[in-house]
């Protein structure tokens, strides 16, 4: 298991806590919470725990692409069990949809 931490610029905070997905084979769960007291409101802090080591760059690119389009500030936790980039993006979009913020479609 590898733990990766990222920070991306963001413009508005998620309105409330959101939970999506399951730590199942080829899948992941996402927990999102609004920025707490003292947290930056202009960025998304992302922690990824993944069962597959060595994909730092791929994670960075997938997340950057997402946060460029949907700049939701807050604390993001991704618990991953070998999801492909496609599944990761799908789950991120589901979280954004639950936050009422599915920005421009690609």
């Amino acid at each position: 298991m590898q733990t990766l931490n990222y920070r991306f610029p963001a413009t508005r905070a998620v309105p409330g806590a959101i939970h999506i997905g399951v730590v199942a084979s080829g899948d992941l769960e996402i927990l999102v919470q609004p920025p707490g007291d003292g947290d930056a409101t202009d960025s998304a802090a992302v922690r990824v725990r993944t069962s597959v080591n060595g994909f730092d760059t791929v994670w960075h690119d997938v997340l950057e692409r997402f946060f460029t389009r949907i700049a939701l500030a807050g604390t993001w936790e991704l618990n991953d069990f070998g999801a492909t980039p496609g599944v990761v993006t799908l789950r991120l979009r589901q979280a954004a949809e639950a936050a009422g913020a599915n920005g421009p479609t690609s």
């Binding site: 298991m1 399951v22 730590v23 769960e29 069962s51």
Partner: protein, 560 residues
């Protein structure tokens, strides 16, 4: 067909939501409470924030219900310390609520491969606590099990399924003690071909379990129909004492008498032989008990030594008892001529489960008018449960449920139960014969091994080498095979060193006898349930997560 809402395709929260009245669902100890397993990340395994078990309170047709839904996608639904504690605590809180005048039914959605081997001994104990909690609640409010699939219910949790007031299944469901792959691994492909799906469902499948009365309702994979069946079961209320499947030793005995392992019935034959009702079947004439030349094993040696002047009686050749004025000693021992050939080395199989249950039951009956109930000492030296196709076809999980039920009944009737581990105490065997005790003692000896699965098998299943497993066990306490590590988990009430563990000396016997008497006294003074396993000094240090789960669920039980 197109309007049917599949239940199986839902995740655990979706399943719980589909069963409860719309808008009534309240999740307790959810993902944002972050009660994840403390044991997985150190092993390089990604944890899940709610440890893969959803606890939800709500109503079903207006009646209060608590659901424990196991998420099959996470670690195959395996029972770990946290997920197990969530289920047992939900059951205990439902029992407290019911006692306080608001009967609260519990629903368990069983989708599990059994004990999570990465948390081995803590998972095994969690299953024992769940079984005990089901039995605590069952007289007060119905406990309804649902096995929908696709994982099904396997391992010790199937014993829990066997204790439920009512068991609802789909045709996709499977229920068994040992899964097909484990049986093939232990007994060879001739014993069980785990690639033969038709065979698997013929033995373990929901239709077969219903047709042989090992489950109650066969419902298609349809969320609305399952909800209707659940509401029906909730309205059905509790079952009369003595009438639960796990209490009907008469039915179990008559059914097992019809099973001939040398000429086993096909699964279809079994339906005709046993029928869809859990009532006694005609028994064929049986040959009288034969004199058995028992191999000398630790279990037998200690049973003989502790029994003193009492004669060793055989309930069946593989289950021996010695009864004194103050206690009944019980052991499962090897019987090289056992007609169930998968249980010849001292494994707990179908007939062993029944015999132990019967011996415990008989003592409860014999002492029912006594103020001071005799102690029951489970001398434990068993390699495991019996891994076999015939065992699964006959419902080993249900036979074991009868034993667990009997031990629980004895404990609650005031019989102190002391487990004394002198050799190996593995897996479902130990769940059946030992883990329902008030007090657990073990010999401090390198050949004493307490675990969820033997080393080689655990390594194969978790895709590790035995060396890797041993390396991990040095830091992950519940995975260790060393008894001194097991003793730190919180449920050891005494680790006893002796001069000769194989053939005890008189001094050894005296020492152990004193320890058993002390344990018996502690049991008489202590709680009737298993709560001392959480309150011990070792538990405070090691079972922090279990304790946190208990506290949080109790706090969140009622809305703020």
């Amino acid at each position: 067909m197109l309007t049917r809402r599949s239940f199986i395709e839902l995740d655990a929260l979706g399943r719980a939501t589909a069963l409860l009245d719309p808008g009534s669902v309240r999740v307790l100890a959810g993902p944002f409470d972050r009660l994840e397993s403390p044991w997985l990340a150190p092993q390089g395994i990604t944890p899940q924030a709610d440890d893969g078990t959803v606890i939800a309170r709500g109503t079903a047709d207006g009646r209060p219900v608590v659901i424990a839904a196991i998420e099959q996608g996470f670690q195959g639904g395996g029972t770990g310390e946290v997920s197990g504690a969530k289920i047992s605590q939900a059951l205990l809180l439902a029992a407290a609520e019911s006692r306080a005048g608001a009967p609260t039914a519990a629903v368990i959605l069983f989708e599990t491969g059994g004990v999570r081997l990465q948390e081995a001994n803590l998972g095994l104990n969690a299953v024992a606590e769940i079984c005990s909690a089901i039995l605590d609640l069952r007289p007060l409010a119905p406990v309804i099990g649902i096995v929908a699939g696709t994982v099904g219910s396997f391992g010790g949790m199937s014993i829990a399924a066997g204790l439920c007031t009512r068991l609802i299944v789909t045709p996709q469901a499977r229920i068994g003690l040992n899964g097909p792959a484990v049986i093939e691994q232990e007994g060879g492909v001739g014993e069980f071909d785990s690639s033969d799906h038709a065979l698997i469902w013929a033995v373990d499948g929901g239709e077969q379990r219903c047709a042989t009365a090992l489950a109650d309702d066969l419902i298609p994979d349809d969320a609305d129909l399952l909800r209707t069946a659940l509401i029906d079961a909730v309205h059905g209320g509790v079952t009369e004492a003595g009438q639960h499947r796990s209490q009907r030793l008469d039915v179990l005995a008559s059914r097992l008498a019809t099973l001939d392992p040398s000429d086993p019935p096909s699964p279809d034959d079994l339906r005709r032989l046993w029928g869809p009702h859990y009532t006694p079947v005609p028994e064929p004439p049986t040959a009288g008990a034969t004199k058995v030349d028992h191999p000398k094993t630790r279990g037998r040696s200690w049973l003989r030594a502790l029994g003193g002047d009492a004669t060793l009686e055989q309930v069946i050749p593989s289950v021996l008892v010695a009864t004194t004025k103050t206690a009944r000693y019980l052991a499962v021992v090897p019987d090289p001529d056992n007609r169930f050939y998968r249980a010849r080395e001292g494994q707990v199989g179908l007939t062993e489960s029944l015999a132990v249950a019967q011996a415990v039951h008989d003592l409860i009956e014999a002492d029912k008018d006594e103020d001071v109930k005799r102690a029951i000492i489970a001398v434990v030296d068993l390699p495991s449960q019996a891994y076999g196709r015939i065992e699964e076809m006959g419902g080993l999980h249900q036979a074991m449920a009868a034993t667990v039920d009997a031990y629980h009944r004895a404990r609650n009737a005031g019989h102190p139960i002391v487990a004394f581990v002198v050799g190996t105490a593995l897996s479902g065997g130990f769940l059946t014969h030992g883990l329902q005790a008030n007090q657990i003692l073990a010999l401090d000896d390198p050949h004493v091994e307490i675990h969820a699965m033997h080393e080689a098998a655990a390594a194969r299943i978790t895709l590790r080498t035995v060396d890797e497993l041993n390396e991990l066990a040095k830091t992950i306490l519940p995975m260790s095979y060393r008894v001194e590590d097991w003793a730190k988990l919180g449920f050891c009430d005494g680790l006893l060193s002796v001069e000769n563990a194989d053939s005890p000396t008189q001094a050894d016997v005296d020492k152990v006898f004193t320890a058993i008497v002390d344990a018996t006294e502690r049991a008489r003074r202590g709680p009737l349930d298993l709560s001392n396993r959480l309150g011990s000094e070792a538990a405070v240090a090691t079972r922090r997560a279990s304790r946190a789960v208990r506290e949080l669920l109790a706090r969140q039980w009622n809305p703020e």
